[in-house]
Symmetry: C2
Subunit: 375 residues, 2 copies
Amino acid sequence: MELGHSAVLQKTIRWPLGVRADLLMGELRKDYLTDRLVIISEERARRPTDFKTAGKLRPKAKCPFCPGNESMTPPAELVLFQSGDARLVLEGEEAEHAQSWLVRTFKNMFPVVSTETAVKHRRGPLFREPAYGYHYIMVATPVHEQAFSEIGVEQWVNVLRSLQHMVKWLYRREGVSQVIPFINHGEEAGASLLHPHLQIVTLPLTPPLMEQEVHAMERSFRETGLCPMCSILRMESRGVRRLIATRYFASFCPWAPTHSFEYWIWPKRHEDDFLEAPLEELTDLALIMKSTLTGMSESLKQPPFNLIFHIPSAEATSAKVHWHVEVYPRLAKWAGLERGARVYVNQVSPESAARVLRETSAKELSRLVKNSRLN
Amino acid sequence: MELGHSAVLQKTIRWPLGVRADLLMGELRKDYLTDRLVIISEERARRPTDFKTAGKLRPKAKCPFCPGNESMTPPAELVLFQSGDARLVLEGEEAEHAQSWLVRTFKNMFPVVSTETAVKHRRGPLFREPAYGYHYIMVATPVHEQAFSEIGVEQWVNVLRSLQHMVKWLYRREGVSQVIPFINHGEEAGASLLHPHLQIVTLPLTPPLMEQEVHAMERSFRETGLCPMCSILRMESRGVRRLIATRYFASFCPWAPTHSFEYWIWPKRHEDDFLEAPLEELTDLALIMKSTLTGMSESLKQPPFNLIFHIPSAEATSAKVHWHVEVYPRLAKWAGLERGARVYVNQVSPESAARVLRETSAKELSRLVKNSRLN
């Protein structure tokens, strides 16, 4: 009955709870019977944190994400920096030498996936494969104490340009089936360091939620010839759950949100492709992100939140699935029903949530478009 | 675009955030494209809590679940009490008069489902149906400050007898497709009151996780004629992920756990039926529950946790799905990857977790079986 994973028992760790054990990492496992995917990554328990288990905030003396402390992280692999009036991207070894960066991207020191995983595919009844992949950190601003909602439109464009670059690059790598960029903001949302940053994780297979989107889209195309997401967007961008819209994007609270005040941002056009979006569209996206993040922060008093990009690979995009952004404020706990049955109790209807978020987001949008510099 | 749910706008609420809105409750909605189920229950925001948003513990002056305070809750519908040497169950109106109860069950004042929901089934592209059902509270002990791990075997038998009674009764009601008993222990796990209690929620449809279990079992029976859960149990009750076993039950850390130190308790026999389990089996279950809950508490220093019973209706049980218990310690936060892609990162492999939990659980089991009274 021994599983023979001794090859990946690498280091010894002492958990906060005083439990000692050898490290196992780099396994992607599937549940016996359901679609639950689990990455076993014991090394990740060693990562630094600004937070203590007691829930008290204890900022680190020296933030590894701040300018000047670059040596505390792995070398940069992509940097966006200012040069005169231009903003330039440098990648590879050259990136590390860029002065006064605006966005800096490097490998996560405590990755949940790795290109050096030792785990082999498992034959037999238990599904296991190497948790093969890339895990990057993208520092979203040089300013440590800036909140995500305080990041200006121009800087969001810098972040989105860097992100587009990284996602495109990652989708060209071997063994990458899905690239998932996301934000954990605030301790409640799973953040361990305060300085605003994104994470980008790649997976060797399509995760359950994205796979279900693809299946549902395919079925609808096959049966009706229509894109269901286009119909949903047409409906939601005018209805009681709409937030604000820009030239290329619409934001709305979804019909069955798993989080109170959850909202989504979708491109309006079916053929839109994040990987090929021109600067004008990225600026438009930055505008609606800044407006709605500020709207959420003002309505809900800077809540912790997760933000996740659903970006399919170029092939998948061109035919079927709209790429999009989902934002989950973290106001309530998921308890037994959510975790044990996947039934979510939401104390705020999306119709109520939209009424609140629409007003504050629209106010911020109108403030932004009055400024020529969009900051 | 108005959804016309004015019939269910009943009361006005002020959220902690200062947002005012009319109440919408009693809707069960399905996501546009995926299997996510959401109950919209705005009235639930009004429920009392021992906890504040700041995360500070503030016990209520008077606990509605304590003996003597019964008038603070709806009338009891099922009570288990001591009479001489015997333990008796009373239900209906008579239950309210039982003195010195050991287990007391009544309707949740802030239910997530209701038999009086005003929502109508929705025609059209957006799935909606009434969140029709029952939501009960079962107080697990008269002793306010007792931890779940401190509840003795005899008292666990009382709880399990009451639970068996309630689940059986609920499965006989109209519009009940699934009965879900669960425990939220500790603020991190979503509990709002400290006094140890279970919740029992019924749903008018089978929730995604249970439905996937059923489908996987049916497929396996069709293709191989074998019960996959029997094979899993045979393997796990001897392997590196085993915890302890009693005459009728085996406990183990599952192959792909979504929580660190997650463990499951399964009946060993395929034909086992919680609804018809005799007292001997319930006592055996109480023994393994008490042993593993104590093991978990000692290993992990009283962690917050969720415990959920997967109990199919009698028809489903007899043929296919094993009923079982799942326990999730809440040591880490679910962040963007978990919530946005349904990919779970686990810093403790079940093999490591089992090594830790096995030792403390076995110690408690051996302590318990040395005592004649099993307390």
